[in-house]
Symmetry: C2
Subunit: 434 residues, 2 copies
């Protein structure tokens, strides 16, 4: 996506001399209020999309937006837009999501939603005249935990959803997403109309926790996100021969786990060789393995691996995925075994907007904030909105890189710093200062 | 153990000019009758020790022995001895077990028990005068499937059991072996008295299916067993760090599965390097693996491997086990991870009697039967009896090497050939022709 070109306006209000300051106490109090919805064991948070707790968190947000005097619009799937009007033209949007994984943390999503709300209400309170509208946004169903369907709300806004896939998606209890929507009075067929006219969006900004260890390890406060990596996922099944571990000589074995071990080592090696930024910052993981029969006194006859390969460029991802497939076939051939390689999923990485990357970097430079220009290894709503408008992301550190866990943590100072930078970036984009 | 020295007897009966022929139909019919006890899905056989089906199979054997006119003795644990008297001196024993694993095959055990019965009753019918008694034996509980305790009956006969271990052994339902014995009216404390006086045993011979692929692959009919391998079993636990598979760069990972993959590959390599007979015919297997958290989008934080290393010499087994432990520590150190190595079990390999090996080989040579001199990779009752008397084993082929499965198969011709050789070997040993 090229750098953002802003429309020129003759009668635009002038930018104020200084940015208004956010209300730290209010931001942290509202974040806390959200995190109490769906709280459970050891402080874990569970707000699965369309569950009672998730609906309650959205209701709280509508309340907070109304209280702040924003114009609230909830679309048919449940995305929430809290708008502050400006002179004219397309709006600057900022937001994230409120839904969570099972037993997740407090910050994955809400930091970006409440951060955007805090930025917009701070602008409103400051009384500055805006050259264009600004909106705080909450997208529905960013996590895939319930229906195996990620970035649901933002995909609909970006016009990226095949309606049949959506309504047929099923949760762990066998409930179809289409039935859930019908229960809430939503006509699934009407959802394709949710695609938002790109002409109404000047830019989209998302504040999010890193969910990785890089910022903390490098002692940086802010991540300026350049691209969002996407995964290729494969299931690799080696079929050898289950035999007695004592009576089968080494040269008469077809040990499927020994074959799989070679591939696991190769996935790590190939990803390491392509780990640098110029080679696509590839990561490769074998996260799950099934061994049959899986007992100490039997040679494994069948082993199934779940392989996850990600990169910030489709080219690098495909290159490594093809190399892994090739090596799997080689290993099987060397050992006279069968191998099946089943693609689970393959998505395209997304570049974020060069103009917005520049804005965020400039702010960090001016304020002398230690920052890291970096890709996002995880998916976010920004990768959907990037398909219809300039999109940018601001990362704040995750303690020990932990996320999707009750141990997820970011210091309050860092959350507030992230919200301040988000506010600054929204205003610079609104006033065309980038 | 040194070659067997036979006591010299002045008034011993002369050996008959030819061996009496076994009754093939009777042998196969009785084997079939045993295999119908505990038969289930797809022809699988389940006769767990002290289950109703296992007790019925022993009752059938007592009936068959009585019918054959043998003197039947059942000891307190349930081992069965069917004796045909001879002139004097210690007896030549032959036998195996009738209990099975869960969903096992028809031949693992019964071939040796019914084969021995057929040999003894054939000798009886032939009317030859024996220089010493012969006995067909059924040992209780050779399989460890129910109580995790293998070669129960033969260990007691050999005086190799710690009574406390035995009575405290527990099955999957939580029932103690001591309670099972009490239920059957057996006083656990009296079992140490089952140790048989070594002076009463001239030799022990066991006919058994190979449970491995060697004989079939080499086109041999008979395996002359030289030694019984024993396992060293280890649990190896690598502890790294569970992280998000997308957001954690390759150089910031502690992937416990990648570490484990290196060890799995090393176990195979080390065993291959020590696979030759002069290096101890080592086999090494990783049969089971547990990965935590075990999902496609998380780097494995903890992996547990079950390692099984076997050899026909304790020296080779220990050498490879030490090398595997060393490599595990090296891998953990290279990756700045923790590794725990927990010994599960370590047993000593057993050499079989050189004199008996010679007898069985001589028979094959004279009858021009294709045979293989080979070790046993699996454990058998013979390895216990070898501790108090000269012991030998005769293997017959297993189709595709499969055992502990309803697919276990040996051709009837091969079963009958095995029983004929057993009969011949028993008579040669009885008449001191070795």
């Amino acid at each position: 996506m090229p750098g953002m070109a802003l429309p020129h306006s003759k009668a635009r209000p002038a930018a104020p001399a200084a940015r208004p300051a956010i209300n730290r106490e209010r931001l942290l109090a509202d974040l806390n209020a959200v995190s109490r919805i769906g709280i459970g064991d050891r402080g874990s948070v569970t707000r699965l999309v369309f569950s009672v707790t998730e609906l309650r968190s959205r209701q709280l947000l509508v309340h907070l937006m109304t209280q702040a005097g924003l114009k609230v619009h909830v679309d048919r799937i449940g995305n929430i837009f809290g708008r502050l009007e400006g002179a004219d033209g397309p709006a600057v949007l900022a937001g994230s999501h409120l839904d969570s994984v099972v037993h997740g943390g407090k910050f994955d999503g809400p930091v970006g939603v409440i951060g955007a709300l805090e930025a917009v209400r701070t602008i409103k309170e400051s009384g500055v005249a805006l050259p264009c509208p600004v909106e705080a946004v909450c997208f529905v169903g960013e996590e895939s935990s319930r229906f195996g369907f990620s970035t649901l709300g933002s995909s609909l806004v970006a016009g990226q959803v095949k309606m049949k896939d959506l309504t047929n998606a099923v949760d762990a209890r066998g409930t179809k997403l289409g039935e859930v929507l019908a229960g809430l009075g939503v006509d699934g067929d009407s959802l394709s109309g949710l695609k938002r006219d790109p002409k109404t969006i000047k830019a989209y900004l998302e504040l999010h926790i890193e969910q990785g260890p890089v910022l903390e390890a490098k002692g940086k406060k802010i991540g300026v996100v350049t691209a969002i990596a996407a995964p290729t996922r494969l299931r690799v099944i080696f079929t050898g021969q289950a035999d007695h571990s004592g009576t089968t000589p080494m040269d008469m074995r077809k040990d499927a786990l020994a074959a799989a071990a070679n591939l696991i080592a190769y996935v790590e090696q190939a990803a390491r060789e392509n780990a640098s930024m110029d080679k696509g910052r590839v990561v490769g993981t074998v996260g799950a393995i099934k061994v049959d029969p899986g007992v100490i006194n039997a040679i494994p006859g069948k082993v199934e691996l779940a392989v996850d390969i990600r990169s910030v460029t489709g080219k690098a991802k495909d290159r490594v995925a093809r190399a892994v497939e090739g090596r799997a076939k080689e290993i099987a051939a060397e050992r006279d075994m069968k191998v099946d390689i089943l693609p689970i999923r393959s998505e395209e990485p997304v570049d974020l907007d060069a103009g917005l990357i520049g804005v965020i970097r400039d702010i960090c430079e001016e304020k002398k904030i230690a920052y890291e220009v970096m890709p996002s290894g995880a998916g976010h709503d920004a990768m959907q909105i990037a398909k219809i408008a300039p999109a940018g992301m601001i990362f704040i550190p995750s303690k020990k890189g932990i996320s999707h866990s009750p141990l997820e943590w970011t210091d309050p100072d860092e959350i507030c710093l992230g919200a301040e930078i988000l506010l600054d970036a929204m205003m610079r984009v609104a006033y065309g200062e980038n």
